[in-house]
Amino acid sequence: MAIEHSSVELTRADFASDQMVKWCPGCGDHSILASVLGVFPKIGYKKENFCMVSGIGCSSRFPYYVNTYGFHSIHGRAAAIATGIKISNPNLSVWINSGDGDATAIGGNHFIHLIRRNMDVNYILFNNEIYGLTKGQYSPTTKQGQITKTSPFGVIDYPFNPGELVIGARGTFFARAVDNQPKTLTEVCEKMAEHDGTSVVEVLQNCVIFNNGTHSAITDKEVRDDRQLWLKHGEPMLFGKNREKGIILKGTSLEVVTLGSESGITEKDILIHDETTENTGIHMMLAQMRPPHFPMAFGVIRAYKQPTYKQLFEKQMQDAQKDAKICCVEDLLNSGETWEV
C-alpha cells in the first residue's frame, strides 16, 4: 500500500489557494509557506492525497493557504487528529503545522506520543518562542529571563529544546531550519517527506510583532557562518566562513576546534555526521548545541529507520484477516455460545 502519485506533473500553482494570506507583513510564516508550496509538486503525490492538519495559533492558519484537503482544528490537538486521519486512510500524505505553544504546551502530550508511535506524518514546528496570536505571552520555548506580557519580571521556567524533546520521545527524524534561508528550508522539507515515520522539522521562525529578533543571534547574516553548523550525512561537521571550524568528540562531550597548523587539527579529526544511527548520544548533543560556546546544528540531525506505526498496524490488520474465522458481523453475532428458543 502506497500513496498514489499524480499522473501529470504538478506545479506550485496547483497548491496555491485563493485565500488571502493574513499573516503580518515580514512574518517568517510566509517563507515557510513558499517552501512547502515548492516542495509538494516535487514529492509528486496526487494533490488530493495531501492533507494538512493544524491546531490553533498563527502557524495553524497554514492549511487555509494550501489548496489541499485541510483541517484547522483546536488548540494542541493537531497530532491527535492527524493520527486518526492516517490510521483511517494510510494512503494520505499527512502534514501538521504547529507552533511552539500548540505543540509543546497545550499539545505536549499528543506531540510526544505521536513521536513515540512513529506515526507516519510530517510535522513542521514553527518556533518563534512566543504566543503570537494571543499577543505576546511566553511559551515553553521562551528564553529564561525574557520579559513578556505574562513575565514582567522575566521568565523563570526552563525552556524546552524541541530537538531534545523529539529525540527523548524516541523520535526517528529531527531536523532544523531557518525561515529566512529558503533554499535549505526546502531541502529539509524534502528530506522530511522522504522519511518514513514521524518527521519533525523545527523552523526558527521570527515573529516580527511580539518577539522580533529572538533568533537573530543565530540567523542574522553577519553571524550565520559562525553560529550555524549545517549537517550533511557522511560529511565532517565543519562550519565558519571558510569552513575553518569543526566539531570533535572529546571524552563524552562535543568540542569546537579550529583547524590549521596552529592547532594541528585537520579535517580527518573532525566528527563525521551519521544521521542514521540508532544511538541517540551524538544526535542529542548536536540538538543541544547553542551559542555562545557552540554553533547551532541545522539540517537533518537524526533520520533513523524503524518500522512505522502504519507498517505495524497494517501488518496486524492483514495477519488478522488472513486466518480469520470471523469475517463479517453475521459471523460474529453467531459466534460462541448460542441457542434456539
Binding site: 492549511p63 483541517f71 490537538r77 487528529i81 486518526g84 483511517s88 496486524q316 490488520m317 453467531n334 434456539e340
Partner: protein, 614 residues
C-alpha cells in the same frame, strides 16, 4: 438419597457474594449461562469494588454477581431469593438485599473470630437466631468439604481453596435442578493445559451438588419457569459488548471502516477491549494517550471517511467537550458512547448513575447541539449503538449515546438479528469532480452537508473550528452569517425528529398516572408499572430512548395525563429538560443517586403515594 419436593417459581434472583478473588463473577456467569441454555430468560449484574484486591475479608473487598432467571426478565432483579455468601464481610453487606424467607448459604468455615470482627460484627452471626428464624440459613462447611474433595489432587491448601466457589455453584445447581454439562465443558476448555485443575473443579462441583442432595439442609428443589420469549436464536450479551457489536454492524451496513479512538475508563473499557479483538472485521482501534486524543483521533478518522467512534464515561466526556464542539462545527459524523457512572469527579467509578444527561445535552461552549440517544437494556445497546451511528452518518453530526454501568456490565438474553434485516446506512457522500461541490452546501430539507473525503478527486477543501461562511465554507466572522449557521446547526438536529418514530405508551391514554423514564432504568420501571396494572391501578408507562431530539408527539402525549412522574438516577436532569421544553405541565419526580438501580418496591411505593395525593 433423599427425594426432595419440587417448588415451581416464575422467576428467582440468586446473588453470589464473596471476597474479590473468590471467583464470584465466574460462578455467577456459569450459573446464568447454564440457566439460559436451559431455556430461562436471564439478566445479570456484577457488583464489584473499585479496588482490584481490597484488604482480605473486609466489606470494601466484597465482590458480587446477581443473576435473575425465569419466565420474563426485564432487569437483574431486586431482592435475592438465594444468597451465597463466601465470608462474613459479604454476608453483613448483603443481608439487606435478601428476601424474608429466602435461602442464605454461607461458608461456615470462614466465620472465624478474626474474620467476623473484621467484617464489623460484634457477635457471631452463626449464633444469631434471627437469621435462622427469618431465612432458610444454611451453614455449609464449604472450605473444609472442598479441601476434602480434592485431597487426592492437590496437597497444598491454596490450590484446594481456589475451588471453593465451585462447591457453592454445585449447591446452587442442585437447588435449581441444573445440569453440570455446560460448566464441565467450560472447565475442560479453559484449563485445557492443566487437567488437574479440571478434575479438581469437577470434583468440587459434584461435592457441592451431592452435599445438598444427600443431606437434609434442603427439603425442596426449585424449578424456575422457562422463558416466554419470541422464537429465535439467542445468546447472552453484556451491554458493552452489544454496544461494540452495534457499531461494527453499522460500519458494515454503511460500507465504511470502523474507527474507535478511546482511552481506558471504568465502566466503558470493555467496548475498547471488545473492538480491539476484531481486526479481522476491519475495526481500526486506537488506544489513545488520553481522552482528548481519543475523540480527536476519531474526528480525524471521520474527516478521512470512517465511521468514527469514541467510548468513555462521565469524566472522559468532560474532557472531550471541546472536541465535540469541533465535530459540531465541522459537521462531521461521530459517535460518542458515554457509559455513565456515579459522579461528579471520579465519583463512584464502578456504580451506575444517569447523571451525565445535562452534560451530554448542554456541556459545551457555544450553541452546540448534537443528537443524544439512550439505550435502555443491555441487549438493546446493540440497537441504539447502530441507531447512533446511522443518525450521525446520515445527518453529519456528532451523536452521544448514553448507556450506564448497569447496562454496560450487566448481561441479558439477546435475540441475534440477521444482518439482512438491519437497514442500510446512506452517508451523504459528495461526488468526485462535482463542480457544484461546496463544503457547507446543504440539503435544504435535512440541512445536511455533503461528506467529501481526502483522496477524492476534485473536492479539496478546508474545514475547521472557526465559523464558516454558508455554502463556500471560507472562514467568516460575518454577523448575519454566524446567526444563519447557528440556526442551521440547531435545525439540522431538530429536524431529525421527522425521521424517528413516535413515543409509545404502555397502558391507557386516560390513566391516572404516567410513569416516565429514560435510559437504563427501563426494566425496573416497566415491571413496577406492570405489577400495578395487574393490581388494577390506573398507571401508564413511557420510556425515552430519543432524548435530543425528542419524538414529535412528546408534548401532546404528556398533556394527556393528569399526573406524571419522571424517574431517573440523578437529581432531576431529564425532568428539567422536559420542563424546559413543555411549559405548563406539572411533573412529579422520583430521583435516586445511591450508585444503585431502582428497585420495584420503592417505585411502587412512590407511584401509589402520587396516586393517593389529591
Amino acid at each position: 438419597m433423599n427425594k426432595k419436593e419440587i417448588i415451581k417459581r416464575d422467576n428467582v434472583v440468586v446473588k453470589f457474594v464473596g471476597d474479590s478473588g473468590d471467583g464470584m463473577q465466574l460462578t455467577g456467569t456459569l450459573f446464568s449461562d447454564t440457566s439460559a441454555l436451559d431455556g430461562n430468560d436471564i439478566a445479570t449484574f456484577p457488583d464489584y469494588p473499585a479496588e482490584i484486591r481490597a484488604p482480605h475479608n473486609t466489606v470494601a473487598g466484597v465482590s458480587g454477581f446477581q443473576v435473575h432467571i425465569g419466565k420474563r426478565i426485564y432487569s437483574s432483579g431486586d431482592e435475592a431469593d438465594v444468597l451465597v455468601a463466601m465470608n462474613p464481610a459479604s454476608l453483613i453487606s448483603n443481608l439487606k438485599w435478601v428476601k424474608r424467607g429466602g435461602i442464605i448459604i454461607i461458608d461456615a468455615d470462614t466465620f472465624t473470630e478474626e474474620a467476623i470482627a473484621k467484617a464489623g460484627y460484634t457477635s457471631s452471626p452463626l449464633n444469631d437466631e434471627s437469621l435462622a428464624q427469618n431465612y432458610h440459613f444454611i451453614k455449609a462447611p464449604v472450605t473444609s468439604m472442598t479441601t476434602e474433595a480434592v485431597k487426592d489432587i492437590f496437597t497444598d491448601r491454596k490450590s484446594a481453596e481456589k475451588c471453593r466457589n465451585m462447591f457453592a455453584l454445585g449447591m446452587i445447581f442442585f437447588i435449581f435442578g441444573k445440569s453440570l454439562e455446560h460448566t464441565d465443558a467450560y472447565l475442560e476448555k479453559k484449563f485445557k493445559k492443566n487437567p488437574a485443575v479440571v478434575e479438581a473443579n469437577k470434583a468440587v462441583i459434584r461435592a457441592g451438588f451431592n452435599f445438598c442432595e444427600n443431606t437434609d439442609v434442603l427439603e425442596a428443589q426449585i424449578q424456575v419457569e422457562t422463558a416466554e420469549i419470541t422464537k429465535g436464536k439467542y445468546r447472552n450479551i453484556t451491554g458493552n459488548i452489544a454496544t461494540a457489536w452495534g457499531l461494527l454492524a453499522a460500519a458494515e451496513k454503511a460500507g465504511l471502516k470502523l474507527f474507535l479512538g478511546s482511552y481506558p475508563i471504568t465502566p466503558a473499557t470493555d467496548i475498547l477491549v471488545e473492538l480491539a479483538k476484531h481486526k479481522s472485521l476491519g475495526a481500526r482501534v486506537f488506544q489513545a494517550e488520553d481522552e482528548i486524543a481519543g475523540i480527536c483521533s476519531a474526528i480525524g478518522a471521520s474527516f478521512a471517511g470512517s465511521l468514527a467512534c469514541t467510548s468513555t464515561s462521565g469524566p472522559g466526556l468532560s474532557l472531550k467537550s471541546e472536541a465535540i464542539g469541533l465535530a459540531v462545527m465541522t459537521e462531521l459524523p461521530l459517535v460518542i458512547v458515554d457509559v455513565q457512572r456515579g459522579g461528579p469527579s471520579t465519583g463512584l467509578p464502578t456504580k451506575t448513575e444517569q447523571s451525565d444527561l445535562s452534560q451530554a445535552l448542554f456541556g459545551r461552549n457555544g450553541e452546540a447541539p448534537c443528537i443524544v440517544l439512550a439505550a435502555s437494556s443491555s441487549a438493546n445497546c446493540f440497537d441504539w449503538a447502530f441507531e447512533a451511528a446511522r443518525l450521525a452518518l446520515e445527518h453529519m453530526t456528532p451523536c452521544i449515546l448514553l448507556t450506564d454501568g448497569y447496562l454496560g456490565n450487566g448481561s441479558q438474553l439477546f435475540r441475534i438479528p440477521k444482518m439482512a434485516d438491519l437497514p442500510t446506512i446512506h452517508p451523504p457522500f459528495a461526488k468526485e469532480n462535482d463542480p457544484e461541490y461546496m463544503p457547507y452546501k446543504r440539503d435544504m430539507e435535512t440541512l445536511v452537508r455533503q461528506w467529501a473525503i481526502p483522496g477524492m478527486e476534485g473536492l479539496r477543501h478546508r474545514i475547521g473550528g472557526l465559523e464558516k461562511s454558508d455554502g463556500k465554507g471560507a472562514v467568516s466572522t460575518d454577523n448575519a452569517n454566524h446567526q444563519l449557521m447557528t440556526d442551521y446547526r440547531k435545525k439540522k438536529v431538530e429536524r431529525i425528529a421527522n425521521r424517528i418514530p413516535d413515543q409509545k405508551v404502555m397502558g391507557a391514554d386516560n390513566a391516572e398516572l404516567l410513569v416516565v423514564g429514560w435510559g437504563g432504568t427501563q426494566g425496573a420501571l416497566k415491571l413496577a408499572v406492570q405489577e400495578m396494572q395487574e393490581e388494577g391501578k390506573s398507571v401508564a408507562f413511557t420510556h425515552f430512548n430519543y432524548i435530543m431530539p425528542l419524538p414529535k408527539n412528546t408534548g401532546e402525549m404528556l398533556k394527556r395525563y393528569k399526573k406524571i412522574v419522571v424517574c431517573e438516577l440523578n437529581m432531576g436532569q431529564f425532568v428539567n429538560y422536559l420542563r424546559m421544553n413543555f411549559e405548563g405541565i406539572n411533573f412529579h419526580q422520583y430521583n435516586k443517586v445511591q450508585g444503585l438501580p431502582f428497585v420495584v418496591s420503592e417505585l411502587k411505593e412512590r407511584f401509589n403515594q402520587i396516586l393517593e395525593e389529591k
